[in-house]
């Protein structure tokens, strides 16, 4: 079965600490991978995406993610977080089949404190 799993529902960190938000998927076909951020009471914003090519992708706000095909993972990282990074982060996968839509993980709440 095709699915996407975010392993951590909540990640609390201190300001300026590094963070990794984990995402794994299960698929029998090739995939396109995305990370979205949603700030409180706001809409979805695309952080970064992997479509093809280099497995390390850089996004907005200093975030990056690495596609690992053998481990079927697409973990999101930031070397030093800010208070303003506090938000909900969603991993999303589109399975490479005609007409299929993005499937979202359950989300990870990143809470950055001083």
């Amino acid at each position: 079965a095709q699915s996407v799993t975010q392993l951590d529902s909540q990640v609390p960190v201190f300001e300026e600490a590094p963070v990794e938000l984990r995402c794994n998927y299960s698929s029998s076909v090739s995939v396109y991978l995305f990370w979205y951020v949603q700030y409180p009471n706001q809409g979805l914003q695309l952080l970064l995406k992997y479509l093809s090519g280099s497995t390390l992708v850089k996004g907005i706000n200093g975030f990056e993610a690495e596609f690992n095909k053998s481990q079927t993972s697409f973990h999101l990282r930031k070397p030093s977080v800010h208070i303003s990074d506090t938000a909900e982060y969603f991993c999303a996968v589109r399975f490479n089949q005609a007409g299929t839509a993005l499937i979202f993980g359950k989300g990870t709440t990143l809470s950055v404190s001083s």
């Binding site: 995305f34 979805l44 969603f90 589109r94 007409g99 839509a101 979202f104 359950k106």
Partner: protein, 114 residues
């Protein structure tokens, strides 16, 4: 990219009534999808809106409850019928264009059912 507008942006409705949400895109798109985001939850795909034919619904969603229209390549509607408080959610329209591997999201319609 695509510019997507949704109407209404928010509404408060009474139990047992219906609400129709409109999604308008600034250019022709191949794929149109409807998602639901319940409070504190991730996005769940409701259905794929097919131009000129019946929508394709995901498991747990039925046409009688969520009738969808797509009369052309730039417009779709989602109706939430016979509403209950459990239908209180944000409803999002999303589109993709061939050869498509990325989706764009509308601002959402925030629905509260009393």
């Amino acid at each position: 990219s695509a510019v997507i507008s949704q109407k209404p942006s928010r509404d408060i409705c009474q139990r047992g009534t219906s609400l129709t949400i409109q999604c308008q895109v600034d250019s022709q798109v191949t794929m149109m999808f409807w998602y639901r985001q319940q409070p504190g939850q991730s996005l769940t795909l409701i259905a794929t809106a097919n131009q000129g034919s019946e929508a394709t619904y995901e498991s747990g969603f039925v046409i009688d409850k969520f009738p969808i229209s797509r009369p052309n390549l730039t417009f779709s509607t989602l109706t939430v019928s016979n509403m209950s408080p459990e239908d209180s959610s944000i409803y999002l329209c999303s589109v993709g264009r061939d050869p498509y591997n990325e989706q764009f999201f509308g601002p959402g319609t925030r629905l509260t059912v009393l």
